[in-house]
């Protein structure tokens, strides 16, 4: 199945794009999508401990299951205000 991945702030800069498409296995979780990105963009790997995940614009745990067509987002530590 195929998912859209949204990236923000420094993660976006590392990837060189705000949005990517990735093919993932049917039983994939957010963590699996993250692992694909960390493989493609090694500079992202250090964020594993501080990144938050979202699925279809709702916060989601990294062990959450995903479905075909989902919008997955990875959020580096936030700094609003």
């Amino acid at each position: 199945m195929r998912v859209t991945v949204r990236l923000f702030a420094r993660l976006k800069d590392i990837a060189g794009a705000p949005e990517l498409e990735r093919d993932v296995p049917a039983d994939a979780t957010l963590a699996d999508v993250w692992a694909l990105l960390a493989h493609d963009f090694p500079a992202m790997a250090p964020y594993r401990g501080s990144v938050s995940g979202a699925r279809n614009a709702e916060y989601a745990r990294m062990d959450a299951a995903i479905a075909d067509g989902d919008e997955i987002a990875f959020l580096p530590p936030v700094s609003g205000g």
Partner: protein
Amino acid sequence: MSAARFAVTSDVLSLDALIECVVAQHAGPVGAVTSFLGLVRAENVGRVVTYLDYEAYEPLAVKAFGRIADEIAELWPGASIGVHHRVGRVDIAEASIAIVAVSAHRADAFAACRYVIERVKQIAPIWKHEHFDGGDVWIEGATAEPDDEGARLEARKRACA
């Protein structure tokens, strides 16, 4: 500015418009209105800041504001809030965030207003891209964990200090 209580916008923020909106939508008696404006500082950790460029995951940011409002309804029943946050370039001395809290009495409005800014900094998916004399840097603060009870308690403690 729209009449939405929660918004992410590239428009200049209007505290008056937000107050009007939150007061109009408040269910109970209104006896107190508190507000907070966060402004872009010309200095940050020794750097001469020229401007900030804010980025947001907009739909989730608006939901995060709603989540904070739900938490406030539990902590201070009878208080309600509104939050507007800028995205895009925000110049020095401009407001990047406007918060309004209303309630029947002042104590709840003050506490709720402080709680909002603490929680925004913890869980709203918004990022500052700081442009300063000599370069630019993404500011990274808290790992966003909306269900982290410790963070909620810390925000509540600061709100009630």
